[in-house]
C-alpha cells in the first residue's frame, strides 16, 4: 500500500498528467493514420523528451506506445488497412463486420477488448512486481548477457522465412555499435581516421533514419489512395456488454499477451497468432473466424494491447529491450542516468509502479477519448499519403537536428533513411538492426565482466538462472532447426508435385527413347519371365 501511495505521488504532477493526456490522445491519432505508426512518432519525439523529467518523457512515449494500437484498429476495421502493423489481424474479422454494416459494433468491440487487454496486463504486472523484484537481483553479468543473447536470437527467428537476412541485420546492428572509441582500452574501431566517427554512430540518428526518414521517402515515392469511409451508426458501449459474454477468450488472449510480451523479441505478433488460434480452436463457430467473428476480433485486440505493459518487464527488470520501441525508450533512461535493471527494482520500486499506474490511467483516458471522439477521429484516415510524407520529413528534421545541431547527423540519418527505404521496398526487416545496436552494447559489456571471473567455459553457466537461460537458447535453436527442416521437406514435396516436363525438342526425343526402351524392356522381360515349353504336339494336317 505504501508503495502504491509513493507511486501515485510521483504521478500526481500537472506535467505528468499533461504528458499522459498528450501521449494517449496523440498515440491514438498516430495509430489511426496508416503509414505513420508509433515507431515513427517515438523516433521523432525522442530528442524532445530528453529535456523533460524521466517520468514525464517516459509517460509521453508510453502513452504513444500503449494507445497507438487502439487507434490502429480504426482503419483496420473501416478500410481494411491496419493503422499499425500489429493491427493486421484485426482486419480479418473487423472489416467483414464493416462490410455487413456493423462497423460501430466492430469498433466498440475492438475498443473494449483493447481496454481489457491493457488493464489486464497492467494488473498482472503490478501483482507480479514483488516477485520480479526478488528475481531481478539474481541476474548478474552472465545472466544478463545470456538473456540479451536469447532476446537477439528470438528477434531473429521471429522473422520466419527471413531468418538469414534478419541475422545479418542484427550483426550489422552489433557492428554499428562497435564503431568509435572502445571504452576500456580507448582504441578506435572502424573510424577510418574520421573525427566524426570517433564518438560512434548515435542510436537515435539510426532510428530516425530507419523508421522516420525511410517512411517519409516511402510515402513520397508512392501514390495517394482513395479512401471511402463507412458511416457509423449506433452506440459504442455495446462492445463492453458483448465482451462480457466471452470472458474465456478475453482472459486467455490477455494471458498470451502478458506472457509473450515479457519474452524479449517475441511481442505482439506471436501473442496475437497464438490467442487467435486458441480462440478459433475453442470456439463453437470456428468457421466464422476470418469472416467477421466477434471472438476473433476480441482475441486479436486483447492480446496485442496486453503486450506493451508486459514488454516493459525485461526493459525495467534487466535493462534488455525486447523490441524497437522499448529500445528507443531505453535511450531516455540513459540520457537521465537512470539505469534500468535489477538495481532499479531494488532501489526505485515506486518509479516502476508509477510507470505501470501511468499505463493503467492511460488505458482509461484512451477509452474515454475513443468513446466520445471516434466520429471525428475517423477523418484522420483521409489524410493523403504523400502529404503525410511531407509532414514526416519536416518532423524528422526536428528529431535529428535538435540532437546536436549537426549537419553530419542529418547526413547519416539520410543515409540510413535510404537504407531503410530499400529495406521497406524489399520487405526486409529493419528492427534487428536497432536491437543489434542496443543488445550488442549490453552483450559486450556483460560478457567482458562475466568472463573476468570465469576459469573454464562451463563456469559461465554454473548458476541456476544462467543454466536455465542457456538451456532455453539451445531449445529455441533446436526448435528453429526443426522448423527449417520441416519447411525444407515441404518445399521438396511441393516442387515434386508441381514438377513440369521440359518442352524442348531434345528432351522430348530423350523421353521418347526412354519410353520405348522401357516399354520394349518390359515386353522382353515379360517374354523371358514366362516359361513357354516347345510345342511337342502332333503337327496339324496341312
Amino acid at each position: 500500500m505504501e508503495l502504491l501511495v509513493s507511486a501515485v505521488e510521483i504521478l500526481a504532477r500537472w506535467d505528468v498528467i499533461l504528458a499522459l493526456v498528450v501521449g494517449s490522445v496523440g498515440g491514438v491519432m498516430i495509430g489511426a493514420i496508416p503509414g505513420v505508426g508509433p515507431a515513427v512518432a517515438i523516433a521523432i519525439l525522442l530528442p524532445a523528451t530528453f529535456s523533460m523529467d524521466p517520468i514525464v518523457g517516459l509517460t509521453v512515449l508510453l502513452g504513444i506506445y500503449g494507445s497507438s494500437m487502439y487507434g490502429g484498429a480504426i482503419p483496420a476495421i473501416l478500410i481494411n488497412t491496419p493503422g499499425t502493423a500489429v493491427n493486421a489481424l484485426t482486419t480479418y474479422d473487423g472489416f467483414p463486420m464493416t462490410a455487413r454494416g456493423e462497423a460501430r459494433r466492430a469498433l466498440s468491440l475492438a475498443y473494449s477488448a483493447s481496454f481489457f487487454g491493457g488493464v489486464f496486463s497492467v494488473i498482472c504486472l503490478i501483482l507480479f512486481a514483488p516477485v520480479l523484484a526478488r528475481i531481478a537481483p539474481m541476474f548478474g553479468s552472465r545472466e544478463i548477457f545470456l538473456a540479451a543473447l536469447l532476446g537477439l536470437i528470438l528477434v531473429v527467428i521471429a522473422h520466419r522465412g527471413q531468418t538469414l537476412i534478419a541475422a545479418a541485420m542484427a550483426f550489422f546492428g552489433i557492428f554499428l555499435n562497435t564503431v568509435g572509441l572502445e571504452p576500456v582500452k580507448y582504441s578506435k574501431r572502424y573510424t577510418f581516421d574520421q573525427s566524426w566517427l570517433s564518438s560512434g554512430v548515435d542510436l537515435i540518428v539510426v532510428v530516425l533514419g530507419l523508421f522516420a526518414l525511410s517512411q517519409a521517402f516511402y510515402l513520397l515515392q508512392g501514390d495517394d489512395e482513395k479512401v471511402r469511409l463507412t458511416p457509423l451508426r449506433g452506440g459504442l458501449f455495446q462492445g463492453l456488454r458483448e465482451l462480457s459474454r466471452h470472458p474465456r477468450v478475453a482472459g486467455v488472449s490477455g494471458a498470451f499477451g502478458v506472457v509473450m510480451g515479457m519474452i524479449p523479441g517475441v511481442g505482439e505478433f506471436t501473442a496475437q497468432f497464438m490467442s487467435y488460434t486458441s480462440a478459433q480452436r475453442s470456439s463453437k463457430r470456428p468457421e466464422d473466424f476470418g469472416h467477421g467473428s466477434s471472438e476473433g476480433l476480441i482475441a486479436a485486440e486483447t492480446s496485442n494491447n496486453a503486450v506493451p505493459a508486459a514488454a516493459m518487464v525485461p526493459l525495467l527488470a534487466l535493462g534488455i529491450p525486447g523490441e524497437a520501441l522499448t529500445a528507443m525508450m531505453l535511450s531516455v533512461f540513459y540520457v537521465h542516468n537512470v539505469v534500468p535493471g535489477p538495481q532499479l527494482f531494488q532501489n526505485d520500486m515506486p518509479f516502476v509502479v508509477a510507470l505501470y499506474l501511468a499505463l493503467l490511467v492511460l488505458n482509461v483516458l484512451v477509452l474515454i477519448f475513443l468513446l466520445s471522439a471516434t466520429g471525428h477521429l475517423v477523418k484522420v484516415v483521409k489524410i493523403p499519403n504523400r502529404f503525410l510524407g511531407v509532414g514526416i520529413l519536416t518532423l524528422s528534421f526536428v528529431g535529428v537536428y535538435s540532437l546536436r545541431n549537426s549537419f553530419t547527423d542529418c547526413l547519416i540519418a539520410a543515409c540510413f533513411g535510404v537504407f531503410g527505404f530499400v529495406l521497406k521496398r524489399l520487405s526486409l526487416p529493419a528492427v534487428p538492426i536497432v536491437l543489434g545496436m542496443v543488445l550488442g552494447g549490453i552483450m559486450e559489456v556483460k560478457l567482458r565482466a562475466g568472463m573476468a571471473r570465469v576459469k573454464t567455459p562451463l563456469d559461465f553457466i554454473d548458476r541456476p538462472i544462467a543454466m536455465i537461460l542457456f538451456v532455453m537458447i539451445l531449445g529455441v535453436l533446436a526448435l528453429h532447426i526443426r522448423h527449417v527442416l520441416i519447411e525444407r521437406r515441404k518445399l521438396k514435396e511441393a516442387k515434386w508435385s508441381a514438377r513440369r516436363r521440359s518442352t524442348r525438342f531434345g528432351m522430348q526425343m530423350f523421353r521418347r527413347r526412354d519410353y520405348l526402351s522401357t516399354e520394349r524392356g518390359k515386353k522382353v522381360r515379360e517374354k523371358r519371365s514366362k516359361y513357354v515349353p516347345r510345342s511337342t504336339g502332333p503337327r496339324s494336317p496341312r
Binding site: F175, R386, V390, S402, A414, F421, L426
Partner: protein
Amino acid sequence: MTEEERRFKGPVRGQSLFAIVFVVASLLLLSQLGTETRWAKGTQLFAQPRFWPAVAVGGMLLFGLLHLWKLPRKRLRRADLVEWRIWFFALEWVLWFLVYVTVVPVLGYLPSTLVFVLLLAGRVGYRSPKMMWISAGFAVAVVVVFKTFLQVRIHGGAAYEYLPGALRSFMILNF
C-alpha cells in the same frame, strides 16, 4: 514462377543486388579488421577491442552469403532495373531534406520550414489554395510546438541578426 519464388517472403525483384552489395560491403569491412581495430597484448579474448567487431562483421558476411545463396533468383532481370530506378529516384527526397538542413541555420527555423513545406507540398502535387494554407498552418504549428513550447535545441538563423533588437532576441528564442 518457381516454387521458391512463390514461397519467398516479399518481392523477388531487387533482392539480388541488395544481397550482393551487402556481402561486398561485409567483405570490405572484414578486410579492414586488422587495420581498423587493435589487438591488445595480455588481454583476454572476450575483452579484446577486436573481438566484437570481428564477431559482427563475420556474422554479417556469413549470414549475408547464406541469404544470397538461398535467394530464389540470383540472375538480374528487367524488373530489377525498374526497382533500382525507384531506389535512385528516392534520392530526390534526400536532397530536399539536406537542402532544408543547410538552409535552417541561415534563414532561421520558421521561415525555412514554411518555405520547405510549401515547396515540397507543391512538388508532390498539392497546389490548390486549400492545401497550401493547410501546409503553411502545419509548418507554423510544427515550429510553435517544438521550438516555442518544447524548446528543442535549434539555433536561431543568421538572418535573424539583421532584425531590430527586441524582435531579434524574440525570434532567436522562439522561432
